[in-house]
Symmetry: C2
């Protein structure tokens, strides 16, 4: 129906007769003529109707916001006074000759340019209107370009796109499964996959060598701001490649993606061990755009009497660390109080601080409630170690290692954001050498990744000291967000059994949960490994969106509902009967 997209017209089209289709973004009359801003997915162009077009002018007079039009006219230059440099099409306009109203529109539930005034629930209820906004169009168009760029790269590298089941068996990822009652097997249920993990490993056992899938995954968890019940993973697995080769190929993929879509060169991506990341940044996904670092003070604090510091300093499982914030001396007491309650969420029982007013004046030039507890020599040594300068503030964490890292790691990011200390640009990082296990708090071990992750050591070493063992896992972090992660998997039966033993998963449980994978390892499993990227997060980062809901066409709310379609919804008694289930009704005493 159209000859051009509205948003694509430029000076080069002047004097061409064009036919456009789109929506009325705005209608104005001025000086006896009618101006229509016509919008399509490419953008907006101004169309002018003079009275001498007769019935077309009359129609133009009748149209309202969001009417759907087909317009034919001639492209002409705008007069110098009316050129609009803010618009891509701002040098030209279309002199309308013919106008056909393809559809009318009732007054929209909200004006597209006033979307911020309405709640997100209204935007989600009328999602088809919200998606007309330029910003939302751009985000979903970029999402499509991102998946396309990823696929092109992987296709070219010989990866095969293979689909794995959505109706499947519960997998051992650890989150809560969505379940689907089976009609043909009464009383039994499918689970929706939390990831294609086991299937992609089986595809390697099958010899497909290089697999990928842009796969929908499902987790029935209480939703945080950046989570959705269904999300999308760029899922990759390879055989006969070692960790370095897998990291190299996926690094090239991400670099090419940023190059193609954003014209950004991410450069060589540095590697950092998990231990170093925790030590310097208190996080296994450090945002390297922030120059602030944690500095360990355990040895120094073993010399003080101040119990709050001395205790953790003496404790092998404790840590005392400082975070120096240049220019932070201007932070008010009220703000410090806010930071104190912020870190309390991570279990920190306080937030000690020192403001550096005049370093040359020694302790006199410092301001802090804790100075009195520390010998001057310790303070001086500390200032030197921290590289303190006038105008700084120094925050302290002293507790179990985990608490200190989480509290100061989070504080580091928050203070940097508040104080404008986050540099522009992109800071990617590979984090490697993760521990295999962490303590589960009940004397046992849980896997840091999943039970199929290969350790970097022998069965003997693993069994001798599980807490020391490192895994062949790797995460790709960008600007403090985990883009993706993966590992070399265990392809050796005896190693798999050792790991399951350490995790306290007995044979029966293992067979029940993933016996088919254990079987598969018996029949010639190749060395294999892979990783998975969170597509939604990548799109968020690349579009600068603040919410995952802004990069998904039809997202769920935080209660896991769709306000547009009103899903979930009631179903009929017949459907329940066919599925061999009943609703659980509360009895009179409120106990189900």
């Amino acid at each position: 129906m159209r000859s051009h997209y509205c948003g694509d017209l430029r000076s080069a089209n002047i004097d061409e007769t064009v036919t456009l289709c789109g929506w009325v973004d705005r209608r104005r009359d001025h000086g006896g003529v009618i101006f229509l801003d016509l919008r399509d997915r490419a953008g907006i162009v101004q169309v002018v109707f003079d009275p001498d077009t007769e019935e077309h002018f009359e129609r133009a007079d009748k149209v309202r916001s969001e009417y759907v039009l087909k317009v034919t006219g001639r492209v002409r230059a705008r007069s110098e006074a009316t050129v609009n440099p803010a618009m891509a099409t701002g040098e030209i306009e279309v002199l309308g000759k013919q106008l056909e109203i393809l559809n009318s529109a009732e007054t929209p539930p909200f004006q597209l340019d006033e979307y911020t005034a309405v709640g997100e629930d209204v935007r989600l209820k009328y999602r088809y209107m919200d998606l007309r906004r330029h910003e939302m169009q751009e985000r979903l168009i970029m999402r499509s370009r991102i998946t396309s760029a990823v696929r092109n790269f992987l296709d070219a590298e010989g990866f095969l796109d293979i689909e794995t089941p959505v109706l499947t068996r519960a997998t051992p990822e650890g989150a809560r499964d969505y379940l689907v009652p089976s009609r043909t097997h009464p009383g039994q249920f499918f689970a929706l996959p939390q990831s294609p993990q086991l299937f992609k490993q089986l595809l390697m056992v099958s010899g497909f060598d290089r697999y990928y899938q842009i796969a929908r995954c499902f987790r029935d968890e209480d939703l945080r701001a950046d989570r959705q019940p269904e999300f999308t993973q760029i899922d990759i697995e390879t055989a006969f490649l070692d960790q370095d080769a897998i990291m190299e190929i996926t690094e090239r993929m991400v670099r090419q993606l940023f190059g193609t879509v954003l014209d950004v060169d991410l450069g060589d991506i540095p590697h950092m061990t998990y231990a170093e990341a925790m030590d310097r940044f208190g996080s296994d996904r450090p945002d390297l755009r922030i120059a602030l670092e944690l500095v360990s003070l355990d040895d120094l604090m073993q010399q003080v009497d101040f119990k709050v510091f001395r205790g953790p300093a003496d404790d092998l499982a404790g840590r005392v660390a400082a975070l120096r914030v240049p220019g932070g001396a201007t932070i008010s007491r009220k703000e410090i109080d806010n930071y104190t309650s912020y870190v309390s969420v991570f279990g920190a029982r306080g937030l000690a601080w020192i403001k550096v007013n005049d370093l040359a004046a020694g302790v006199e030039g410092l301001q802090s409630p804790i100075l009195k507890f520390m010998p001057e020599a310790v303070v001086a040594e500390m200032m030197q170690r921290l590289g303190a300068a006038d105008g700084d503030i120094i925050f302290f964490g002293a507790d179990k290692v985990k608490v200190v890292n989480e509290a100061l790691g989070a504080l580091r990011v928050k203070v940097a954001e508040d104080q404008g200390l986050v540099a522009d640009g992109w800071a990617p990082l590979w984090v490697v050498d993760f521990p295999m296990f962490e303590e589960d708090g009940e004397g046992g071990w849980t896997p840091l990744h999943h039970p199929f992750t290969a350790p970097a050591c022998s069965v003997e070493a693993l069994e001798a000291s599980p807490g020391e063992a490192l895994s062949k896992a790797y995460d790709l972090v960008l600007n403090g967000t985990e883009l993706g992660g993966g590992s070399i998997r265990i392809h050796d039966q005896s190693m798999q059994q050792a790991v399951l033993r350490i995790l306290g998963i007995d044979d029966e449980e293992a067979r029940e949960k993933f016996g088919f994978l254990l079987d598969a390892l018996k029949y010639g499993a190749p060395p294999h490994g892979g990783l998975a990227f969170g597509l939604d997060r990548i799109v968020m980062l690349m579009t600068g969106a603040q919410s995952i809901r802004d990069v998904i066409a039809f997202p769920k709310t935080q209660t896991a509902a769709c306000v547009m379609t009103e899903a979930p919804s009631d179903v009929s008694a017949r459907q329940l009967r066919e599925l061999n289930i009943r609703l659980r009704e509360k009895s009179a005493d409120g106990i189900a």
Copy 2:
């Protein structure tokens, strides 16, 4: 780890030192040396180990079928006597220098080259072994190439890949939904989508203009041979394109797909109306590789007394038609009996036939139990109309139109297959001008496609005679299989309401089922339409697979179960409680 794929080595690689990784397809010792057929996804190559490689020879001696090896060696030409022209790598072999056993393998549950001897259930239980077979590798590799070719075409044409929800609301496709209990909304359920139909229409209302998605769809139906509970659709929707433009663009897509993947030029695809297809082939998806056609004899049979023919011939809702099978006079009475019971499935109460032995001899030269009921002149006229020739058999159908079309339409295909009358090659066809509605047998109407399909006439004409109205729907048929179909959708509210009225869907039911779509039509819905292709069927056709299960990596059995993962499976009482459901247990008298 490898320098080459096994299956890629050719004479050009002679004298190169290569490193290969793969599975032992076969191991033989002969004349003091060991021959290993090493297999990867690209194919098989022969590796030879001489005793002078010492420990490597010893290892080669130990390996068994399906061991995983890494082999380094030198490519050399085979002696003329041992060249194997049946193998792509048959001109060369690799003289092994080093052998590393990457993993051993227990004796496989079945030998890969003897898979036909084991039941499909065994193949599905050990699917990761079954997938190692060359045939299965090729099918899934071709599936990946097909999706890639489709995506490349659509990306280049400006289509946006947009994901729609899997956890959603029941849609009105008419099949049974898979349901997912909501934990956060007790007593309510999501439905898995039978197609993204409503969402893709909303995306057009949102202005995305050109959408596609290779989308998983779900139907909880009793499974026929070519159905799966989850299947994959190439889903397409456009705005501002008319029927011809949509057919043109998708025809180019399919032609490019066949060109890229199979090097086949499908040529311009002919169009045929639904009415003509039913009349000539008794089917709306005729296999045009078969030259046989149905010929109507109603006018002739109005002249006979034979009630079996006369009744339907006089009935406006009846039909008498014949199917001439050249060379079919050799078909035995027993085979005719089999065909008779075959057509009875479609409601035909018999299968009259005439064998043409000697046309020149008149009625004397014909053989049939029904000749005695028909005047000679009618028989002569019929023979002429059918173009009968010596050696033919003619089958008859006489009943309601629907029964005759279904019975003779199916018989046409079956006889052609049995008699070797199916030509080689590809016979694509567009079927157009479908009726809007068909009678539901209870005095009402049901949609031939779905309630959002646009009619080719005005609201007034539609309401005046729903049974006469044609729709703007179109199906693409290939070799008798429906590859895909679609339609222009209704974008006009009053038309949508008229269609819902005719279907007997009242306002309340409409709002309950898809009120959000009706709302969306109010706020500026553009003219739009699209279609959906069944990816699994396309892959079946293009790979020549006989079963849909052979083109899906991890399919379900006919009872909708996965024998490998043992899904569906039992779940815990805790999970049921969280989801607010109970199992329905049979009471003592067997009533739930």
